[in-house]
């Protein structure tokens, strides 16, 4: 069964695909942002640990 291109189903399908695409893009950005924050936090923790160790060893 074929539909003319202007049929409502095509519009509905396009809206669904667009919505899903934008949702996935937002999810990727969210995971990327979380990764940056987590890595930065671990970096800060390691730096603080290193500084504390160095201060402890200092004469």
């Amino acid at each position: 069964m074929s539909f003319p291109p202007e049929h409502e189903i095509f519009r509905r399908r396009f809206g669904r695909n667009l919505g899903l695409g934008l949702t996935l893009a937002a999810f990727v950005l969210l995971v990327f942002g979380l990764t940056v924050v987590k890595v930065t936090q671990v970096g800060h923790m390691l730096a603080a640990e290193k500084a504390a160790t160095a201060a402890g060893k200092a004469p």
Partner: protein
Amino acid sequence: MTDTTTFKPATLPQAGEAGFGDYVALLKPRVMSLVVFTALVGLLVAPVPVHPFVGLAAILFIALGAGASGALNMWWDADIDAVMRRTAKRPVPSGRVAPGEALGLGLALSGIAVVMLWLAANAVAAGLLAFTIFFYAVVYSMWLKRSTPQNIVIGGAAGAFPPMIGWAVATGGVSLESLLMFALIFMWTPPHFWALALFMKEDYHKAGVPMLTVTHGRRATRVHVLVYTLLLVPVAVGIGFTQIGGPVYLAVSIALNAAFVVGAWRIWRRDEVQAEADSYAVEKRVFRFSLWYLFLLFGALLVERALQNFGLGGW
């Protein structure tokens, strides 16, 4: 456009051809907004600061988990929804989304939400979210809703978990304050829903849902609204004396609880003749007020937290 008068097979939404909005509707966005707000308050009033981006991600995943449980509920309750006027136009009973799709979406989003919350925050928050989804979808929807008039009382726990999850995101644990926020929503749910049930009586009766109005009658429901509102008061006011409370919250909670008790008392003293005479005006007013009640109480907690940043607020 109505579903019956403009029926045309060529333009009828087909299963599997739903629009994006239909899938969003499966996630119960209005319920989600309450979940987002209470979880956000739980997260912000916690004594441990959270990185803003982690907080944002955590709230989004809590909302996603709540939405997933909504989709599972719509899948399971499609038969009930179809006969209730309030819910007949939902995506599954109206045929826009196939039941299997709703189930698949609910399960997939549940998994994603729990795993991502674990990665973004911690295992306690993720565990609480998983339990919340299980409680709402299985304990409430599949078991209690159709078997006991106390469905709203016990099932209300599902809606009460979000501030606890928000608190756990920040602190990694559970405390008296988070338990009291849970108790506040838990005790608020019965009078809120029973006020609704009083003026939506035909819906629940037609669907065969054993709401208190159907099983024990309307007089008993009015008594229950008053009793549960009275039980709610010490919980709501008690939060004012904890670490997250303070004078502002205490003043707001005393005023709101007094108004809620007056509303419940007005519901209790009326009979059906009086209620039908004014189209359940008091019941509708108390129902609407109960929404503001919860919003303003949690808002007052936020105000206390904001004041603490300026050396004010708290005890």
